[in-house]
């Protein structure tokens, strides 16, 4: 066992370490395989920024466990949010990468933290402007509660009860240069 990684914010408590994250993502992959008999129709679509890394990781496991290499892509949510004026600065927009034809496709949206549900709504709005997928499923590494919309995830790595003011921090080696870890801090 490696020594505990350094918190990104002083005082933050470790919620998931690298091995736990790997177990979560592998379990989610098995659940995706169970729920979707025809894996060739599944596309893993990441919500920026760390949802993209999660989509990439799930795609790797999916290929390893089932032999099927799914389409992986990105859905921009910044230009589909209804609360631009609430942000201090305009969120970065990313290029959306979806399968050319969405007909019959099952999209699995991936994100690191599920909180209010507003990001997921924006992602679904964005996708619907491209076409009409057969269904959309939702996979998150951490569900921290406090939903503001009637949205739930189909696949959850960890349910993490939090107070509204607490913060959840996800770090990946690939995107942050910090060992894979999930943290919770009081502010």
């Amino acid at each position: 066992m490696n020594p505990a990684p350094t918190p990104p914010i002083p005082g933050a408590a470790l919620v998931l370490d690298r091995a736990a994250i790997e177990r979560c993502l592998k379990r989610i992959t098995h659940e995706i395989i169970e729920r979707n008999p025809d894996l060739s129709k599944v596309a893993l679509i990441g919500i920026p920024s760390r949802g993209i890394e999660i989509a990439r990781r799930l795609a790797g496991y999916l290929k390893e466990f089932s032999g099927t290499e799914p389409f992986t892509g990105v859905v921009d949510v910044a230009m589909h949010r209804d609360d631009l004026h609430r942000h201090r600065l305009p969120p970065r927009v990313e290029r959306t990468i979806l399968p050319h034809d969405l007909e019959d496709v099952t999209i699995v949206l991936t994100d690191d933290v599920l909180f209010s549900g507003r990001t997921c709504r924006a992602a679904m709005d964005s996708i619907s402007s491209f076409g009409r997928p057969a269904r959309i499923q939702y996979a998150v590494l951490v569900d921290r509660g406090h939903r503001e919309l009637p949205i739930r995830a189909d696949y959850v790595g960890k349910n993490l009860p939090t107070a509204l003011g607490q913060r959840v921090h996800v770090r990946f080696e690939a995107t942050d240069g910090i060992e894979d870890s999930v943290w919770m801090s009081q502010t």
Partner: protein
């Protein structure tokens, strides 16, 4: 992603952790003050918005509920239409005001007209004006975002951004690219904005034209000035031909259009000197047979219509970024 404490903006920090606060401007007045990072951020944002044009539904809700005023004190069709369509694609409401039907003709000052626009809760004002500094003047006095759509011979930032975007898209980079700008540099805000953007991003720039319109005074900016188009063409990666502005020109700058074409027009014969993959650009509207041969304008090398398409994406990006900052204040 950090899920922030305030429920209203749980995803505010999504991608900014790696690149914090690149864009903090409510206005776009010119490119002279922008950093290379800011210019690149606009271009990156524009490439995401360009894809919106290829969707089944070519509209996103980013600026829903915001009002944009196209305030054009100087005539323009394509820039105004481009801004108008960009605003529609972002779900903003658009009002067009032309000099001829505004109260400017009744003696109202620019500032008073603008104050009135603000009193109507205009969120974004796109200004085209014949005086250099007009956009800056309004930006300093209004809470609304002010986007410069051309101020006298000073700057036309969105044109230069779309030119830069097109070069980057077609050639894959800006750094090290040799751009030759031909024509009326003296009166051209397009040239000035292009010079600022290209030099900041590491391109080489050569200005070509009659000595009356391309004075050596530009050299301290870091560009080369020459009056010999034939010699410079074989070294060019991009030739950007500026329109000869009949309406702005007084006769004494060059003897005739025919003579201009003879020395500085991109004729078929002259184009043979170009590298095979060199790009031909023009901000439009083109004077066929003056700055550029008619067939060349329609050839594969010409990216003139790509510039128009890209202009839409660049303007969506600029509106999105500036409105996003202003809204936060």
């Amino acid at each position: 992603m950090e899920a922030a404490a305030v429920p209203a903006k749980p995803q505010a920090t999504t991608a900014t952790t790696k690149a914090p606060d690149i864009w903090t401007r409510k206005d776009l007045v010119g490119l002279q003050d922008l950093t290379a990072a800011e210019i690149n951020h606009v271009l990156d944002t524009a490439s995401a918005f360009k894809d919106v044009g290829a969707r089944e539904i070519k509209k996103v809700p980013a600026l829903r509920g915001q009002t944009l005023v196209n305030f054009f004190v100087e005539a323009s069709t394509r820039t105004r239409v481009s801004f108008e369509l960009a605003a529609h694609r972002l779900s903003a409401d658009v009002i067009n005001m032309m000099a001829s039907n505004s109260s400017l003709t009744k003696g109202e000052t620019l500032k008073d007209t603008a104050k009135n626009l603000q009193a109507l809760h205009a969120d974004i004002i796109v200004l085209r004006h014949s005086s250099a500094g007009a956009a800056q003047f309004l930006a300093e006095r209004l809470e609304a975002s002010v986007i410069n759509a051309g101020d006298g011979a000073h700057e036309h930032p969105t044109q230069a951004l779309l030119d830069t975007f097109t070069i980057r898209e077609k050639l894959g980079r800006i750094a090290g690219i040799h751009v030759v700008i031909v024509g009326d540099i003296l009166f051209s805000r397009v040239a000035r904005s292009n010079i600022h953007a290209l030099l900041k991003l590491g391109a080489r720039v050569t200005l070509v034209g009659p000595s009356t319109l391309v004075p050596r005074e530009f050299e301290p900016l870091g560009v080369k000035v020459t009056h010999d188009l034939d010699r410079v063409l074989p070294e060019a990666d991009v030739v950007n031909l500026l329109r000869i502005q009949h309406e702005r020109q007084r006769k004494e700058y060059f003897p005739s259009l025919g003579e201009y074409t003879q020395f500085f027009g991109l004729t078929k014969q002259r184009a043979e000197r170009l590298k095979p993959d060199a790009l031909i650009m023009h901000p439009g509207p083109i004077n066929r047979g003056v700055e550029i041969d008619s067939d060349l304008a329609d050839s594969d090398r010409s990216v003139i219509l790509d510039q128009v398409t890209n202009g839409l994406a660049v303007r969506m990006a600029v509106l999105y970024l500036c409105a996003g900052v202003r809204g936060a204040e």
